[in-house]
Symmetry: C2
Subunit: 236 residues, 2 copies
């Protein structure tokens, strides 16, 4: 199979790394197009696992250095999985994390990992935004990308129109409520803005929430704020 | 002033970036050795602020490309501050974050930022560990490194002997208590292990805590787990 550097919107993306690719094979075997092994790949147990999962699912394995040169020059990476993008509709009964114009792939991946870890299995992304299928996002999620429901929306209003029963909680510095002041009403939409610019003032029309912090810092970083919010939503 | 690539233990480290360097000048002017500006640096307000802070504190400014070539080839960086390392003893009355053998500079910086944001102004690090003064750590902290009390210890027992009145809470998957089950007794030591290996079993002798997560993920990432713990410690 011919590989090319991933570009936003491509039909095929890549899992870079052994553990990540094993997660891919376990969770989404029907989406896997091909597995690439580096000629120097030696790891016994992981290698056996990959061969076994590929054989069970009729997936081709190619041993070649070339895909690694194209896809992962800088990383200590000996296994790559090529997979086709997927769509998995948001659950209208479940709570959602909503990221408005996120710009950093590592941040998005970390948030996906935490959300799945607390059973909030739905991620809505308002575009323009970093790409859910970018190999950097997938890698930062440690494979949680393969397990979460995900949809993109061209505007927050489009999202809100689809889920009229969700309670919207935008996280803003200038907010009506402090986190933990009263319980979230579920299903909830926990809404976070861009790393640099936050949410526009127009979100103040909802029950906006602040995570109070000292004035020794400017802000919490985005994955930290989102994770604290998800934790608070799920705590008993 | 002659600069060289930072190595662990060097007497001088560097703040890479304009906002970070302004934080340095505000918080630790006595530690600043020199400020370097890139000849292409044009930012009006930041430039004025830097000149004003340097003038107030008698700090030399050098305009030169060379330090940038040595210290920050890959980054979009136009301001560098050179500062001497500092020691700031942990507060024996305050709660502490204790990182045992952390290996990632970005993670340590993110944890420093969250800790300072919630008023937990004390970081103990058990070596071997990533370097608190590494420019990558400083940068990830967004300047919070300049505001937190920090000490290194060669072993956890050395740390514990210095702070016999602290309640020790190691965070482990195999733990006695779930987070939030009962309030932390302060002053508390919130203890976290290495990113890959966690804490050794010997920490089970303390009141170990787990942040429960679904089995859809292997673990929470370290800054997320530490931030949730700090948040829980500080919530009313």
């Amino acid at each position: 199979m011919k590989v090319k550097r991933y570009k936003r919107g491509d039909a095929v993306s890549y899992s870079l790394g052994g553990e990540l690719t094993i997660e891919l094979l376990r969770r989404l075997p029907d989406n896997v197009k091909c597995i690439f092994l580096h000629p120097d790949f030696r790891d016994g147990a992981a290698r056996d696992m990959i061969y076994s999962l590929c054989s069970q699912n009729g997936i081709e394995i190619e041993v070649s250095e070339k895909p690694f040169n194209i896809l992962s020059q800088k990383e200590n990476c000996f296994v790559i999985g090529a997979f086709s993008r997927f769509e998995r509709k948001l659950d209208p009964e479940g709570s959602h994390v909503v990221l408005v114009n996120p710009s950093n792939a590592g941040n998005m991946g970390t948030i996906i990992r935490t959300a799945l870890g607390f059973g909030v299995n739905n991620l809505a992304v308002i575009t323009p935004a970093v790409d859910f299928f970018d190999p950097k996002t997938v890698r930062a999620s440690m494979g949680a990308s393969f397990g979460i429901n995900f949809e993109e929306f061209p505007s927050f209003d489009d999202y809100a129109a689809r889920f009229p029963n969700h309670s919207c909680y935008p996280f803003m510095l200038n907010a009506k409520h402090r986190i933990g002041e009263s319980p979230f009403v579920t299903p909830a939409s926990l809404i976070f803005g861009n790393e640099a610019t936050g949410l526009p003032d127009s979100f103040s029309r909802y029950e906006s929430i602040v995570i109070p912090h000292t004035n020794a810092i400017d802000s919490l970083n985005l994955p930290i704020a989102a994770s604290i919010a998800i934790y608070e939503l799920c705590r008993k």
